[in-house]
């Protein structure tokens, strides 16, 4: 029991430290560069890609952060932007679905590639799969909402 508690305390500390060291710098950098031209160009380019799964320009930045750094960090920015930009439920649903299927693309994939997994299947196939699942569920959600409103 004491050992479990010790694991919990040290594990929690590790977790909090990792989240703190990633979230705070991301937020500061995001806030400083959000309005700049290069940042907007990157987000706009990414928005052109994720438009195909039903995401609009305001959802592009949180999706990009989640895709690169992880669900928790992207989720944190989604939480912020839901408040700040009043993102619609449909956008949050599509973002959550996409990021559920693929996130932390470099870190998570590398762990398994180091173990001997094929880079094509772990990266390319997974992104294609994520896009297909997101499209399918986005369509299903739209249908459900339409039926529900009638």
């Amino acid at each position: 029991m004491a050992e479990l508690l010790r694991t919990f305390v040290t594990g929690s500390f590790d977790l909090l430290l990792r989240v703190f060291l990633i979230v705070v710098p991301i937020m500061v950098v995001l806030e400083l560069f959000e309005g700049t031209r290069p940042f907007r160009a990157v987000v706009r380019a990414w928005a052109r890609v994720v438009r195909h799964v039903g995401l609009d320009e305001r959802s592009a930045a949180p999706t990009l952060i989640g895709f690169l750094f992880g669900l928790a960090y992207g989720g944190g920015i989604i939480v912020r932007d839901v408040r700040r930009h009043d993102l619609g439920r449909r956008q949050v649903f599509i973002m959550s679905t996409f990021l559920s299927m693929v996130h932390a693309i470099a870190e998570d994939s590398l762990v398994f590639i180091a173990l001997g997994a094929s880079i094509f299947w772990v990266v390319v196939y997974r992104i294609v799969w994520a896009a297909l699942v997101t499209l399918a569920l986005g369509a299903v959600a739209a249908m459900v909402v339409r039926r529900f409103r009638r």
Partner: protein, 169 residues
């Protein structure tokens, strides 16, 4: 901050739309730094409040032997993915804990590279479900549904990949 007659809203919130005429570069840097720190700390706090209880629940599940029990129940499923029954252990470890723990328990299994790839796909799509589900919940989604989605979609993706890899060879 100076006054912006065309802005129309005196004392508008700092995180609203950027004013038409920006203040000096230094002042803007300081203001954005402040907003960034504030929203960083806010986000950190939101995440901490959901992640720590989820992490605690995860540890308790592990201690109660729930992982072993689930892994035994999932053994028969592994054949559908072309994997040995023992591969259920890293899969369940990944679902409940995280990918690092899953990789740790994969190392002992002596899987072929095709099997490693198939298992990797399932775990990469579904892992750390309690903690990440808590974050999704905070974003206004149903964490349980997304957990179920990730398990099912991950297993289907892995099965499809296994079939396709069989065709290519």
């Amino acid at each position: 901050m100076g006054s912006f007659p065309d802005n129309g809203v005196p004392g508008s919130p700092v995180d609203g739309p950027a004013p038409a005429a920006p203040p000096g570069l230094g002042a803007r840097f300081k203001r954005d730094l402040g907003i960034g720190l504030k929203s960083g700390l806010q986000t950190f706090w939101v995440l901490a409040r959901v992640m720590i209880p989820a992490y605690g629940a995860t540890l308790i599940l592990e201690r109660l032997g729930v992982i072993e029990w689930l892994a035994r129940a999932a053994r028969p499923l592994m054949a559908l993915l072309g994997l040995p029954g023992d591969a259920a252990v890293p899969l369940i470890v990944g679902y409940v804990l995280n990918i690092y723990a899953a990789v740790g328990s994969m190392q002992a299994l002596g899987l072929s590279s095709r099997q490693i790839t198939v298992l990797a796909i399932a775990i990469l799509i579904g892992h750390n479900l309690l903690v990440e589900g808590a974050v999704l919940h905070k974003a206004g989604m149903n964490g349980f549904s997304f957990g179920a989605l990730r398990i099912v979609a991950g297993l289907v993706a892995a099965a499809v990949a296994n079939l396709l890899m069989g065709l290519v060879r």
